[in-house]
Symmetry: C2
Subunit: 723 residues, 2 copies
């Protein structure tokens, strides 16, 4: 951009139009290669237990070839795009787009509306829109919410629809095939709980399309990005900054930032246990005896359970189960005094024939089906009603449930499960089409929790900032209403698309989507089709978790098939070692969490965020930066005692050996380091102000429990051992 140019700038001739923002081409339009296409189609959503199979009968899709500049002022333009024709049966072109381009808060906003002709046949109302934004051949693209299979999105199309993430998520995996055959649950590379119509590009550009409808972001064309929507986006927002860091800061400011995490969350390990007060007490004692720095007990079954063929499920009636958890109210107080928080679970459904359902249904708080009756959703051998969050009374009522049943009861946090199932044929109080509300639901559900907590803080100022909840489902808005994401339901395996390795692209793509706080179930969750969590997998996952903001366990859906933290003394000791690493990093992590809250720089960062000149860095999805000063390359494969990794330019010090690597600029270098159990490859940047802290962390760990090579028996599961 030359200094005397306005940020918004167009270049036109008789037929063609190019729109530039700060000198970067946003789109180029010509009659032959139109910027926008309008059309009509019919969508078909097949849903079974959160697994969506979406297809389309496209009727037509027409390039809007013609354009007129309706208004033109500095930093504000109004352009009409229309079909390349003028008069038909006395009417104007029946597809058109009025695009208002304006610079607002140093961002480019493209607002979209259409002109409707009087008497226009309803058949002509377009419900399909495709926009071609400019792309460069070597441009790299990130974001689209939480993406588990790919970090760099270039070269592929990403349908954006919140749903189950799939089991296996790769048609070449046997587990995926089994899950597909069983109930169409295998998924694919783009299935996600947290889709988002936004991306960040290596051009230092971020783009957000405000459209909750089903959409597909296709980054596979060489010269443009095709963004396809089943409804007209109300607007596009673009930010353009001098660096990647500033770009994502600007995006984060737009979406809204996460708050701080309470210190206690980062001070150690949250045990994921269940089974009753005594069991919690017992497991806590076992963990503490092994020096695990326990900061919380997360018991998802605090409200009781039901057994189904899938495994142990929960009783979705958000009331303390006094039979399963006798004396929990008193136990929580005791634990709290002892520095251990208690965390529970909630989701936005209420179980049929239970007290909350019976309270909500007569008030009209539950969403309806097309016949005007309460919509009962099949969750696999039980049914539940959907709390209609578009009904202000229902929303208020459910906030009350959270405040009274969870917070007043003494929970310090909870898993905020689900949000991604809203059936497209639900009839909502607000009149909002469920096809649009579907993708909005996770953020609305986050907001319900957010407001409940904020309102409760007002009555309990002494607890300000001490509550934490975490979600898997998300979308635009989740950034400000959800303080912490978790990666959902990984398989208890090493698979690239759905096992331990998928955690890193998930965290980093969310980081590129404005959400900077991420963690996962240590050891994974989904235990089906013969999968069983091994000791080695548990230990490697704990290593990774220790280098994320939060360490929290989960027994999985079939706990007895899985290796658990207390399955043997060595695992306990390993968890203690990793927990103390995490705890020792608290001052550093706290700084990063502050940076995320105040400046919108995520805690876990892709390498290219700080090393743009390193061309390799743009393609790495199995390493990350934990803040600016730690480089993490976790072991993601079984039976490895070393790991090959990439070091961006600079001088890097291997935490465990103290060995120093001089990585030349600008391309960086690859190296291989020893990676015994207990030694996740971590490097600190030479010259960091945190060097003393990092060295102290090392000393603490080594004092607790030594690292050792992987042995064959580490891959043996509980059940195998029990034979």
């Amino acid at each position: 951009m030359t200094p005397n140019q306005e940020p918004l700038h167009i270049i036109t001739d008789k037929k063609n139009l190019r729109l530039l923002f700060k000198g970067e081409e946003i789109f180029a339009h010509s009659p032959e290669q139109p910027f926008v296409y309008a059309g009509r189609g019919t969508g078909n959503y097949r849903m079974f237990r959160g697994n969506f199979h979406i297809s389309e009968r496209l009727k037509e899709l027409v390039g809007l070839q013609d354009w007129d500049l309706l208004e033109s002022e500095p930093n504000r333009l109004v352009i009409r795009f229309s079909q390349g024709c003028s008069i038909y049966h006395g009417r104007k072109s029946h597809y058109n787009l009025i695009l208002q381009a304006a610079v607002v808060s140093d961002r480019l906003e493209l607002s979209c509306t259409t002109e409707t002709e009087t008497g226009q046949a309803p058949q002509y109302k377009p419900n399909r829109w495709r926009f071609h934004f400019s792309a460069q051949t070597n441009e790299q693209v990130y974001g689209c919410g939480e993406q588990f299979s790919y970090l760099n999105l270039r070269g592929r199309a990403f349908p954006l629809w919140t749903s189950e993430q799939g089991v296996g998520r790769n048609k070449k995996s046997y587990v995926t095939w089994l899950a597909d055959v069983a109930e169409g649950a295998g998924g694919d590379y783009y299935w996600t709980f947290f889709p988002q119509t936004s991306f960040v590009s290596s051009r230092h550009l971020w783009c957000y399309a405000d459209c909750p409808a089903y959409s597909v972001f296709d980054f596979s064309a060489p010269d443009h990005h095709e963004l396809y929507f089943w409804d007209l986006p109300s607007r596009f927002v673009f930010g353009l900054k001098p660096s990647m860091v500033e770009t994502i800061q600007d995006q984060s400011a737009y979406f809204g930032r996460q708050g701080m995490l309470p210190d206690w969350v980062m001070e150690g390990v949250i045990l994921g246990v269940q089974g009753g007060t005594e069991t919690c007490e017992h497991k806590l004692a076992v963990a503490r005896k092994a020096h695990v720095p326990v900061v919380g007990i997360w018991a998802q079954d605090w409200e009781g359970i039901r057994i189904t063929s899938f495994g142990q499920r929960l009783r979705w009636n958000w009331v303390w189960d006094q039979e399963r958890y006798p004396g929990l109210d008193r136990a929580i107080k005791t634990w709290n005094r002892d520095g251990v928080r208690f965390l529970g679970y909630i989701n936005p459904y209420v179980l049929q024939d239970h007290s909350l359902f019976q309270e909500a249904e007569p008030q009209g708080y539950l969403a309806k089906n097309g016949e005007g009756r309460t919509y009962l959703v099949d969750f696999g051998e039980f049914y539940a009603g959907i709390v209609d969050l578009t009904n202000p009374e229902a929303f208020r009522w459910f906030k009350g449930v959270i405040k009274h049943n969870l917070l007043d009861f003494g929970l310090s946090g909870w898993m905020v499960d689900f949000g991604e199932y809203l059936p497209t044929d639900t009839v909502l109080y607000s009149g909002r089409s469920a096809e649009l509300a579907h993708n909005e639901w996770p953020a609305l559900w986050a907001r319900c929790n957010y407001e409940a907590v904020q309102e409760w803080y007002q009555d309990h100022p002494e607890k300000q900032g001490q509550i934490v909840y975490f979600m898997r489902a998300g979308g635009p808005g989740s950034q400000k209403w959800c303080p912490l994401m978790w990666a959902g339901d990984q398989n208890v395996d090493w698979s690239e698309d759905d096992g331990l390795p998928s955690i890193i692209p998930a965290a980093l793509s969310l980081a590129m989507s404005g959400h900077g706080l991420h963690h996962s179930d240590i050891g994974g969750y989904t235990t089906l089709f013969g999968m069983k969590r091994t000791k080695e997998l548990f230990m490697r996952w704990a290593e990774l978790a220790s280098l994320t903001p939060v360490m929290r366990g989960h027994e999985g859906n079939r706990p007895r098939d899985n290796w658990q933290f207390d399955s043997d003394q060595e695992t306990l000791a390993h968890l203690a070692r990793m927990g103390h690493l995490h705890r020792a990093l608290l001052p550093y992590l706290r700084t990063l969490v502050v940076e995320n809250a105040e400046r919108g720089i995520p805690v876990m960062r892709p390498l290219f965020l700080h090393y743009e000149e390193d061309s390799e860095a743009w393609h790495i999805k199995d390493q990350y930066l934990l803040g600016p000063d730690l480089l993490v390359a976790p072991v993601l494969e079984p039976a490895r005692n070393e790991r090959k990794l990439h070091l961006p330019p600079g001088i890097w010090c291997h935490l465990w050996s103290g060995e120093t690597f001089h990585s030349p600029g600008p391309a960086g270098m690859s190296c291989t380091v020893r990676a015994y159990l207990g030694e996740p490859p971590v490097f600190y940047r030479a010259g960091t102000a945190w060097e003393a802290l990092f060295r102290e962390a090392l000393t603490t760990c080594e004092a607790l429990y030594p690292s050792r090579p992987v042995s064959k028996t580490d891959a043996i599961t509980v059940q195998d051992i029990s034979k």
Copy 2:
């Protein structure tokens, strides 16, 4: 149709247009629901060893709303369809269709052209066309070439592209998954060697679109059929007759009819054997000793073999292998004198570094790649050149190979393999785009064989009508150039989509596509992923084959994994029984073959062809009529000693028991009959002139070998037994 109406008739008002043929609506056009859509897109063809994965980037697809009647005469109309707009940048609508509708030979022909504007941008040349032809809600649809999974096509979309048929062909089958993972070879319900852009409907209508490009016939909409093409069809042809029989006769007359089969083919069994002259001699002796009425030896390896990881493959150099088949020339003469023909194998490729390749390449007879070099196709551990059948010299040369190396040598027939692999990036002598030539290739390859045989007959009039060849690949034109189809490479299993049961829809859908002579490899072919042919499968397959025009065996790609006709004495005796059933039916079968050749009524017929009033008949794909007088309901599942089936209205006599069933009209009835091994459920129509023949067949069979119940050991494979 009222008598004073012309066959071609339009009903119009200012905006709408309906075209009727003999009173049946062919299409209804309105600006809101246009008849035709034009657009542009880019196809992506990924091919690996005949497995095509085709996808599309659709740029736009525009309904042509406007229409003008340019010419109107009795039985001839010219209509221009164009975009709903008049002038853009000084040009007319850039998408248009000139449709000439005319009645020719009692058929409706819709010829398609476009008006090209002078100076029209090449970007506007449409390469996507979608036509919406009228459909009735309860209309049933058949044809589209050879369809293995579905006979009734209504409710689904069928991409039409000749390719491998797939291994498993059902994403829920484990074998399909394994084949997909191995090399994307699993296939899907619509994969076929013989696709055809035609269908027959229960409205007594047949429709053919003359378009070799990739296309999709979608019969899933309630009120129209969507026919989608990657090129403009030159024309559509419609026939409409008072009955289904007359409808398919008319279609057959249009495509051209098959000739007669030689009598010898129907007189007994063609053994599928390999391994050399002595092996053939030995197996012939074994079969004859067991009273198998052998009429031919089909040895696909007459030209030699190569071993690959897939199994035993053939040496694609079409010259007698004197090492593997010493004295074959003399042996053929001896066998012939003894009433046994010898059949071989050919395909349209020539093996790299072998004599025919070396002869063809310097002459320019082999197709080229984009760099002007000989296109070498990867067939799995070997490469071969493509004989360029669009080069008249190459075509002539290859006919010479057939005449000299096959016919003069003494072959009485051969398998004409392949035809479906032509890569879309092949550069052909004729300049024809390989994207269009691809679907044309099978018929061209059939024609090469047809002409070779006809020319050879001129020099050998005494052999007139004695040669037979059979193909798996096909398309429009195959009807007149290929005398006999075989079903390709079924799995050696019972699977609905790719095993024994798939033979019937394959035969019947071809019957609805103008090809009335079909048979299959007895026992199936594909022996991979742990599949092994069982004794029971072989026996049931032989039963089905005995009630088709031709009985021919195949050892499969891994012969030693499969049960063979000579694996035990009982199997030999069973084959003898079924062979004699087939042989005994010769006079009846000959009449059917004549009916097919002269009147275009297929030998194997869907039930609805003769029982239109029976609503059930339109949905049956596991039974067929063998001519008008035999109803066949083969056993298609393992471990069954009876079979449930549907009897259309009439009096039916069960062949084996003599029991008579009175099936009431119009709906027919279901019944269950005993179906021991050796007793495929067959019924003859009471009152048939062939009753004595059918009874004699029964007596012959019973004299040879008794039927018996299925036992558990029948399901055990060769390898299991050998343990």
